[in-house]
Amino acid sequence: MKLELRGVTKRFGSFTANDRISLTVEPGEIHALLGENGAGKSTLMNTIYGLYAPDEGEIRLDDEPVSFNGPGDAVAAGIGMVHQHFMLIPVFTVTESVALGYEPTRAAGIMDMKQAREKVLEISGRFGFDVDPDARIEDLPVGAQQRVEIIKALSRDAKVLILDEPTAVLTPQETDELITIMGQLRDSGTSIVFITHKLREVRAVADRITVIRRGAVVGETTPKSTETELAGLMVGREVNLTTAKEPAVPGDVSFSVQGLTVLSPMDKVVVDNVDLEVRRGEILVIAGVDGNGQSELAQAILGIREPVAGRILLDDQDLAPLSVKQRLAAGLGFVPEDRSTDGVIGAFTVTENYVLDMYDTAPYAGGPGNVALRLPVMRKAAQTQAERFDVRMGSVDAPISTLSGGNQQKVVLAREMSRDLRLFVASQPTRGLDVGSIEFVHRTVIEERDKGTPCVIVSTELDEALNLADRIAVMYRGRIVGIVPVTTSRDVLGLMMAGVPLEEAKQQAATHHTMLSEADEMAEAEENK
């Protein structure tokens, strides 16, 4: 089915999220929609999926204008969507999940699970999905859960499939499988809209690429374009995809984690006997697919999660008896994973957020027992630091929620780096940021490293890990699979992220390249010509 957008505009108040967007997705085409976080990709897709009504413009399916009152209409018209965060119920089986909302029934409204099950088998057989219809969702790996979502869309006869950042939660190998599936779907005539901000994937799978920036289409191109060209289009200026940095000059080991074990509130082991050593002036990136215990490890270092075993040592001092406040005061800089829930308080002003973990110490507080806030001192410090970190904002008295994500993160960094640090820990410090802010965050972290601070960065993006790290520790299901130098290939790292030990991963990677790395090699060869 052919999907065509003509001048689709969507506004929220005075903000134009989509500005006269026109694009055509031909039948049997993989059309990549490339853009930064906040460029308006998701808004556009939600408009197509019937969640928003466009303020202007029209959507056409096979040259017929359509208008949807909700996702139900869109699904009925043959549009399927796989969201970035899956809409699955963990305790349901695959069959139940696929049937949910469109349950086939027999007489008297009794659910016909047999029919539903056959449908699952039929679709997964057609595309070689290898999904057990009776498996429970929670038992399936993420890649398989995503396939369930795809089956769900296909079971409703989707002719246009929208995949919203489908690779965000996948290992490189799972991504590879997804790419194969996308190819099969295309060959069977399904049109695919593939939303992403990852340049490598786009070049590996897309037939055509539409780049949007600030809500408007800025270019249509083919996968032949180089990554630098694509990045330039996406950001609107030339970008350095890698941050220049001097080789690390590691000093002594000053931070170590020994045999650390952390349980979830449900008493499951989420961090399993982890050993780490970080030297002064070194960045250790903890890589892995989201949800493999990295966040809990970082939280244990901060002290908001109590480990059941193991020790955390900073300069030979055991951190266990210290409260969060004492750890921060002792020189721990911590950038939490989820900016909006853990990093800042949205309703607080920029100033208040800037002093969020120093508000009760001099010079920000005074009087007996440091009970009185010194507003002028706070404001002045916030102002100075905001300028130093190039925070774009109305004023330091504005609520921080009025700032963009990148600028909020800069405030968090400014706060954490305003102290003399003995250890810097950041959990996914660039998640959801635009390229400019990512560059800034990376440079700031490297500067901190060059000051001699040991840095631990949790990252789920392989690109970031390779860009930032001096060494990479790969985590899978709470364990450290291996600690490897930054020269390790993506394929090996990808396999390790799926739990394959280093040696085995090397062997497997030697015999089997992923499509992405092949595309990389081809691109490199081309550029070298």
Partner: protein, 452 residues
């Protein structure tokens, strides 16, 4: 990949937030509280207007003259309208004369007495309302104002007649006793919440009941009431422990009103200018971020309810030492619950709470005259209060009534209904996508507006 036991890898983003449904419900509660505290002034004022209109309808409905004229409405509609106008004018003007200024009074003293009466009624409302407001700002719904007032009044009153101390010292000690009594009562809920996660709403409601029966029991004990009679009424507070009169014997206005002013300033300083208040507001707005920033959430949670209880206790103390002088079973009336209205109406801000306390005090004072002069039941005042709360709790309702734009700045148009429908049809998808847009920042303006 078949190991079902270990979650990591299978459900991204879930592992970090496995706090169970209670935490989720708590989160929703504190979000609702935050929204309540942040309704705009306009909505607050319009809520009062709506309440007056609803009150008007009820006054007319209860009035026999109006009912009479309604029976021949179609023959002579002007009669009905005229009567209605007359009745309403009388009712509301007597309400005003009873609350602010009586222009029909024979002397200046009598003309301004209504205002002082309003101030008298407002003292415990303001003090307890400040306590509730601190709770709101800190993300806690303290329903225990009633119990805390009872404990404050009981302790202060008992110290007031059981001890013999010099003037000045006696009243200070009695007031301190009131604060401590309320603080203990609030602190029980605070410590339970901080230590065990017990929901403060439930605990404070239960503590209200315990306080009522504790007082009933005390009023049967001779050592406590010291009257020698069987009446469940304590003896009268010594002169040395009474709050001094501000305007002389013709008026009931006492120094409690000064205490209310001081407390308002103190609460403002506490919330806006002190590190303690910074912690309070931080845990109210975002406890996770507060915890990550090293704030001791447990300690702050307990402290919030201790301070809130102390203020309510002070309100009870001022009520006994300045107005009532004797402790009876119904000493607190419905003050504890009216205080919640006061805090809501004042948008949980100290000055707002002060003004709201005056307004409700005025309704109380004026209601008495209204009933006496026009026969309008004083219960109308309760209805006004209830409607105000209802309106404040549902800002969209007020916006609809007055055709105001939505809080998030979006025009109220067909699209919103559409989205609502979409939400109904595929709620999770819709919610998720809104989240996705919010987090990816596709619609910064909307999310920001909503955050305000």
């Amino acid at each position: 990949m078949t190991d079902s036991g270990s979650q990591p890898g299978t459900s991204p983003a879930q592992t970090s937030k496995q706090e169970g449904p209670w935490a989720e419900a708590e989160g929703r509660l504190s979000r609702a509280l935050r929204d309540l505290g942040q309704t705009s002034w306009l909505v607050t004022v319009l809520s009062v207007v709506v309440a007056l209109v609803v009150g008007a309808v009820l006054i007319l409905g209860a009035n026999e003259q109006v009912q009479g004229s309604l029976s021949y409405f179609f023959a002579q509609p002007t009669d009905f309208l005229e009567t209605s106008f007359q009745v309403l004018r009388e009712a509301y003007s007597s309400l005003f004369r009873g609350a602010v200024f009586d222009w029909q009074a024979s002397s200046v003293e009598r003309a301004i007495r209504p205002l002082t009466e309003t101030m008298v009624y407002s003292v415990p409302l303001i003090l307890a309302g400040l306590g509730i407001a601190i709770g709101f700002r800190s993300g806690m719904l303290n329903i225990g104002g009633q119990g805390q007032i009872i404990l404050g009044a009981t302790s202060a009153g008992f110290l007031g007649y059981a001890l013999s101390l010099p003037v000045g010292l006696h009243v200070l000690l009695a007031l301190a006793g009131g604060i401590i009594g309320g603080a203990i009562w609030g602190g029980i809920a605070g410590v339970l919440k901080a230590r065990t996660g017990a929901n403060e709403v439930i605990v404070t409601i239960m503590l209200n009941n315990i306080a009522i029966y504790l007082l009933a029991w005390l009023l049967k004990q001779e050592w406590f009431k010291q009257t020698g009679s069987n009446q469940p009424l304590s003896s009268s507070v010594d002169d040395s422990a009474q709050l001094f009169s501000l305007l002389g014997p013709g008026f009931r206005l006492h120094a409690g009103f000064l205490i209310a002013i001081l407390a308002t300033v103190f609460v403002w300083w506490l919330l806006e200018r002190s590190t303690i208040g910074f912690e309070f507001r931080a845990i109210g707005e975002n406890p996770e971020a507060a915890r990550t920033a090293g704030i001791n959430v447990t300690k702050a949670t307990a402290l919030v309810l201790i301070v809130a209880g102390g203020l309510a206790g002070l309100g009870g103390a001022a009520h006994v030492l300045g107005t009532e002088y004797r402790i009876a079973g119904g000493i607190a009336g419905s003050l504890g619950f009216d205080a919640i209205t006061v805090a809501l109406l004042g948008r949980s801000k100290p000055l707002g709470t002060f003004l709201a306390g005056l307004l409700l005090g005025g309704l109380r004072a004026g209601g008495v005259l209204m009933q006496a002069q026009t026969g309008t039941p004083i219960d109308i005042v309760l209805v006004l209060q209830a409607v105000i709360v209802l309106m404040i709790a549902a800002p969209p309702l007020v916006r609809t009534i007055f055709f105001l734009p939505r809080a998030d700045g979006r025009p109220r148009l067909r699209k919103n209904r559409r989205r609502a429908q979409a939400g109904g049809a595929d709620e999770s998808a819709s919610r998720e996508s809104t989240l996705a847009t919010a987090s990816s920042g596709s619609a910064p303006t909307t999310t920001q507006e909503a955050d305000k």
